[in-house]
Amino acid sequence: MLVAAALILGAAGCEPVQPWERGDLAKPQMVLEPDPANSALRAHTFAAREAAQGGNAGVGGGCGCN
């Protein structure tokens, strides 16, 4: 029963989001990087201190507009 419920709830994640359904994703509070300049500075400092860089990339949210 639990497995079935988990499967049914999980299946909802397979529903594709249509281009016009991205209004909430486009809100400023949905941005993964609220301050890109500050994040870039932090990444630079981290790379300089740790003598290592990369590995901190990720996909973002946003409206997906063209």
Binding site: Q18, P19, W20, A26, K27, G64
Partner: protein
């Protein structure tokens, strides 16, 4: 020629081929189309639907208040309507906002001189085949969709104007 030079040149050519392909594929987002206007109901703010514009060239644009490129396209659509309206063009902006109040606030801030269909219009967007926001469709005087244009960039303006002019030059029934 040393082998490493040949490899370097091959890599150079390969990379430029990719760059050229990307430029070519992104430079002309307008896609030729040829199908009748989908039978979907939109409710224009002024009343009625697409049927009242029979015999006109339509520029149908699917937009939403939260979409940045849509905002960029609004002054262009206003210009298009005022420049080509007297010659038989009608711009129809189909709102896709899930909350009608968002669209109303947007339109209060950015007044328009063309027809707007209040949202949401999801069935119509599906029928047209909207793949991204915004997407615009050019419909000829015979009610056939002739091209689809995904997204909006200021550089697209000249191409769109040329397309509109060529459709306006066509006679109804031809």
């Amino acid at each position: 020629m040393p082998q490493h030079c040949q490899r370097g040149r091959a890599t150079f050519v390969f990379l430029w081929t990719i760059v050229a392909a990307l430029v070519l594929c992104c430079a002309s987002p307008a896609v030729a189309d040829d199908r009748p206007l989908p039978d979907c109901a939109v409710k224009l703010d002024a009343g009625g639907g697409f049927e009242q514009f029979r015999g006109k060239v339509l520029y149908v644009d699917f937009w939403a208040s939260w979409c940045g490129p849509c905002l960029l396209s609004f002054p262009f659509m206003n210009d298009l309507q005022s420049a080509y309206g007297p010659r038989g063009l009608q711009v129809v902006a189909v709102d896709m906002d899930e909350k009608p109040a968002d669209a109303a606030a947007f339109l209060a801030k950015h007044p328009v001189g063309f027809a707007v269909a209040a949202g949401p219009n999801a069935p119509c967007a599906t029928a047209f085949g909207v793949a991204t926001m915004p997407t615009s469709f050019l419909v000829d005087r015979n009610g056939r969709i002739r091209s689809a244009h995904a997204g909006f960039k200021p550089g697209d303006v000249d191409g769109l104007r040329a397309e509109v002019e060529s459709l306006l030059a066509e006679k109804s029934g031809s």
